[in-house]
Symmetry: C2
Subunit: 260 residues, 2 copies
Amino acid sequence: MPKEKLSIVKIGGNIIEDETSLNDFLKLFSKLEGYKILVHGGGKRATSIALKLGIQSNMVNGRRITDAETLEVITMVYGGLVNKNIVAKLQALNIDAIGLTGADINSILSKKRPVKDVDFGFVGDVKKVAYQSINKLINANFTPVFCAITHDGNGQLLNTNADTVTSQLAIGMSPIYETSIYYCFELNGVLKDINDKNSVIKHINSNTYNQLLEQGIIADGMLPKLENCFDALKHGVQTINMGNTNMLTQENDNFTRITL
Amino acid sequence: MPKEKLSIVKIGGNIIEDETSLNDFLKLFSKLEGYKILVHGGGKRATSIALKLGIQSNMVNGRRITDAETLEVITMVYGGLVNKNIVAKLQALNIDAIGLTGADINSILSKKRPVKDVDFGFVGDVKKVAYQSINKLINANFTPVFCAITHDGNGQLLNTNADTVTSQLAIGMSPIYETSIYYCFELNGVLKDINDKNSVIKHINSNTYNQLLEQGIIADGMLPKLENCFDALKHGVQTINMGNTNMLTQENDNFTRITL
């Protein structure tokens, strides 16, 4: 029997920050057919609330250094403010949403990142996704909404990159579902020419990826993103889609689809 | 077939505020046998964080006036900070906890309180408890941890008194469970003499309640609490227990048990 499909959709900070963008996105998400999971962070909001509370945000290589105070802000903003407002909005759209951190139903267990050159503080690297527990929610027709927080199993919440939560969920659920990821971001997709927003590369696979690399078309921020994508594809994920939120509509094919 | 038992335990702000008290309570809660639900608020923490953010807390008759800014703080503190830390701590005690607001799985639907003498702002009065949806979580061996936030079904979160959430959950779940409430607070129970903390009245029923009223023993803050209790008992709740957290241990009988 073929596996059923499960879509895992990640939204970035720009969508969360803007009420209209968020509402528009949630309407599209609510219409997406089949089983689905939403993943969000909330870094920009966390930064602004931390600032108001007099807590400075320290970033190293684009990652937040999460001291105890910062973890409190993240727990408030991601787990409370952003997550619960999304859940309430989805309920109004007839999606029976349930907001989760990795601590809830022990869904995402992680390990505090060891201190090497940088002490990232309370940051977790994912160890295990409890796919059977998550599947109990899906089977009950609930739609999980994950924020980018995990836990270590010993009572400690840990900040975890939202892209990573997304790919780990997609890998983790792949034993029982045919999983696809939708990374919604500002661009229309992976671009051939960074200065031309309409130069979307519609399909990338392992072969074309290597060609794009050789041609120097993929570089900078897109490089680690795509490496993570191929890693997820090699570990059971079926398809990864990158583009703006309109890729969730069936009419629009102007986004990047990535397969092995 | 007799109904199975479900305990609904509410903890007050004093327990939440103090890490040691909270840890001690959670150990007791984790050992409580049978199906169970935890309910918490977090008003004191919300007040202090609101203060840091420059938002003033306005109380009328002991109830918080919830303007839009205050609702944001409550959503952050109750739904995020307090709830998710409790969930992570319960996971470490091998309780498969899941943190919820009334918006999650549409579990507690409420109606924004109409403006009469006072405009309470974004405060909700409970309309409906989705006992079948909550029961799906319980049947999956998850332990729900509710914070005192509900929603109106149209995308709006609403602040709701934690005692009320507790009694409404107990009433709401009573068609399928024999429900008992445990109100954990600072006192050892309902006291005969307010100046003697050991003068606990161990059992109150409708008859003895009327006698206590006539004798003027029950007054002030205890009066509305007990009226709410009898209301819950008349609507399907089996037993209500009031006392300190030690009432959760089987050895201790020094608390107040209230029945019809």
